[in-house]
């Protein structure tokens, strides 16, 4: 008789990100008509600046720049999980060429394949993940862990997320100021910055077309459920969470959630928010990069990453500082 299978520990490390070249103030963006909310509302929410790609900068450029930030730590990756919030960023082909030729191959120019080639990761397999909205990066970490658990030959997975909004888009979603950007990290069997304790996802597909009011209506109750279930997976309680690193959203939302979860509000960290706004699915990684630089998180401390996104998806990852 064999007991429950014990998974080999998996670690998350090498947090890097890149942003659109143009840094704009809230006031400038509002004045340009690229938001619904006025400047006072966005400033009150905690946003100050955001970053927008210039005309020549693609989502793939963002991804490549983010991965470049980790230097040779990407080398030797056995898999790439390339996540996008907007499905259109999962193709870097020229849509105009499809329009002219009607050949769908122009809709299948995959950035994950390009990244594999550009990094010379000839033995890496590639996966695309593009239907989890802002939760995609946490989803890619979960997929990476699954790969490492089930593929004995794999030791390291490169997770990347990259999105830029199409020209003319409003840079506001669900009351959040958006930045074009990319983020990357590695998930590895080698001891790294954070041990991955658990990952959890809740999807309510019936709310895929939810409007903003319905989204807010579900946000608190589903986030509460996600965190409660995530912690229960590993027998932890909210009292054992040292830090929460959420998405860059209205500061008041997490003040409320922290109270509902019985987590002190000063344990919620999103240091990047004023400067980079909501970097779509990269917020957790961007914030972890900031925290790594400031050495806030101490060994043994537990960090909760939480994201909510369209779909409707909620994902959370629980880490322990190694």
């Amino acid at each position: 008789m064999s007991g429950p299978r014990t998974l080999e520990p998996v670690y998350v490390d090498d947090f890097c990100f890149s942003l659109g070249h143009r840094k704009l103030s809230v006031e400038d963006t509002v004045a340009a008509g690229h938001t619904r909310t006025d400047a006072a509302g966005l400033l009150d929410a905690g946003f100050r600046y955001h970053h927008v790609c210039d005309d020549e900068q693609s989502s793939y450029d963002l991804a490549a720049a983010a991965v470049a930030g980790m230097g040779d730590r990407s080398s030797g990756a056995d898999a790439i999980v390339y996540a996008t919030c907007l499905p259109l960023n999962g193709n870097v082909g020229d849509v105009a060429r499809f329009d002219r030729s009607k050949d769908v191959k122009h809709l299948m120019d995959y950035p994950a394949s390009r990244l594999q080639a550009d990094l010379g990761l000839d033995d890496a397999i590639v996966l695309g993940l593009n239907q989890q909205a802002c939760t995609s990066m946490l989803g890619s970490i979960r997929v990476a862990r699954g790969l490492l658990a089930t593929e004995p030959d794999m030791r390291r997975v490169l997770c990347v997320t990259a999105d830029r909004f199409p020209p003319g888009a409003l840079y506001e979603q669900a009351y959040n100021l958006i930045s074009d950007g990319a983020a990357a990290c590695t998930v590895t069997k080698d001891v790294g910055a954070y041990k991955l304790l658990a990952a959890h996802q809740v999807t309510n597909g019936a709310m895929v077309t939810a409007d903003d009011d319905e989204t807010v209506g579900a946000y608190f109750s589903y986030t509460h459920r996600l965190v409660t279930e995530l912690l229960a997976k590993v027998g932890r309680t909210a009292g054992e969470v040292d830090w929460v690193v959420p998405q860059n959203t209205n500061a008041k939302a997490w003040q409320i959630l922290a109270r509902l979860l019985a987590i002190p509000a000063d344990r919620v960290l999103c240091p990047s928010m004023p400067d980079v706004a909501h970097v779509i699915s990269g917020d957790n990684v961007v914030n972890l990069a900031y925290l790594t630089a400031s050495n806030v998180v101490q060994p043994g401390q537990v960090v909760l990453l939480v994201m909510a996104g369209y779909g409707m998806n909620w994902q959370g990852v629980l880490l322990e500082k190694a």
Binding site: Y175, D211, D213, G217, S221, T249, K252
Partner: protein
């Protein structure tokens, strides 16, 4: 503080035998209309005070043939002399005044609450004093005139030390004070009515109040947070019960004083139980079940205040409006009241406490079936 009978007990003329002339203010209101119907059905001569010609038409239509026996007078409590239309000859015949007119919105501002609910009561009392044959003056009040007072709530005068959740509660407390200040001069009654959940035990709802609106917001997934503690008791009555009780308690033969037109704690339901029942009923609807809308989280006061204060930053107009509807009574949902209704029980000898859970379930069922009045019910 005992009410003073105006006439000898043996000379009661306003009993259920159809004698006496009763003036009802707020006759176009949800309770007032049915109370008027009851008085008329009992054969009493009734003067219905309504604010406008439109209200008069509405009441007349609702009362049907009974309206032909009613006399209407125009009374607008916001005017300087609202009862001017009640001429001296009529005043000489009035034996009972039932003052039910009030602004009952929880979000009423102080100015309007003071004008209509407080000063309006002052005017109604002045009218009552000018009626030489008066046997009964009744203020239709609310159990929430006790404000944020916790613990046992007796059928006695309240202090205002605990404060109030909103200006509606405050104004109804002030109105009670005006009545109590004239206790030595009038045969008075203060009837504090609990939240009316439904028209009757079938759960049918023809008038939506904050209770129904809050359930609607939950049904449509617009309320992520609710203020309150799960074990806070909630007190509900039906309109049928309230009207019957008010009618009988206004009878001059019935001892005056303060009554709770409410059931006691044993017939209350907690906020948790209410949500359980409501969501069980909601789950019977395919669309609701498919949306997988979760029960709103019960938030402490600070969390809910944060939500209300910050909501415009991360929510649209529907959610903002939803919270604006709930916020004015939010503080009551943290207050555990233990309503006493022993005087009511003594006065209504056939009183039986209802099953609160059954009433709430029937009400939720009807609300869902009619989609809060937008559809015909399929019972």
């Amino acid at each position: 503080m005992n009410p003073v009978p105006r006439r000898s007990d043996s000379g009661s003329s306003g009993g259920e035998n159809g004698e006496g002339l009763v003036l009802v203010t707020g006759a176009n209101g949800y309770l007032g209309r049915e109370l008027s119907r009851r008085f008329l059905a009992d054969g009493m001569e009734v003067v219905l005070a309504v604010r406008s010609s439109t209200a008069r038409s509405d009441v007349a239509a609702a009362l049907g043939p009974l309206a032909e026996r009613a006399r209407f007078v125009a009374v607008d409590l916001t005017e300087a002399e609202p009862f001017a239309a009640v001429h001296p000859a009529l005043r000489r015949r009035i034996t009972s005044v039932v003052h039910g007119a009030a602004v009952t919105r929880f979000n009423v501002d102080r100015e309007v609450a003071a004008l209509v609910n407080v000063e309006g009561t002052r005017h109604a009392l002045a009218l009552a004093r000018s009626c030489p044959e008066l046997e009964s003056f009744t203020l239709v009040g609310t159990v929430y005139s006790s404000g944020l007072q916790v613990g046992r709530i007796a059928e006695e005068a309240h202090s205002d030390e605990a404060g109030f959740a909103n200006f509606y509660e405050w104004s109804k407390w002030e109105a009670e004070q005006l009545v109590l200040a004239q206790a030595d001069e009038l045969p008075w009654r203060v009837l504090r009515v609990a939240t009316v959940a439904a028209d009757d035990d079938t759960g049918a709802v023809t008038h939506h109040n904050a209770f129904h609106e809050t359930l609607k917001l939950c049904f449509y997934g617009l309320l992520a947070l609710l203020p309150g503690c799960g074990d806070t008791p909630l007190y509900f009555v039906t309109r049928a019960f309230a009207v019957d009780a008010v009618r009988r308690l206004t009878d001059p033969a019935c001892p005056g004083g303060i009554y709770h037109v409410a059931h006691d704690r044993s017939a209350s339901i907690t906020l948790d139980q209410l949500l359980d029942i409501a969501f069980e009923e909601f789950e019977s609807v395919d669309d609701f079940r498919k949306k997988r809308i979760l029960r709103p989280l019960l938030a402490d006061e600070e969390s809910f205040d944060l939500m209300v204060d910050g909501v415009t930053g991360f929510a649209g107009s529907l959610v903002t409006q939803a919270l604006a509807n709930v916020a004015p009574f939010a503080r009551q949902l943290y207050v555990t009241k233990d309503l006493d209704n022993s005087r009511l029980r003594s006065a209504l000898h056939d009183y039986e406490a209802p099953d609160a859970a059954s009433l709430v379930r029937a009400t939720c069922h009807q609300l869902v079936a009619t989609r809060w009045g937008r559809r015909a019910a399929h019972v």
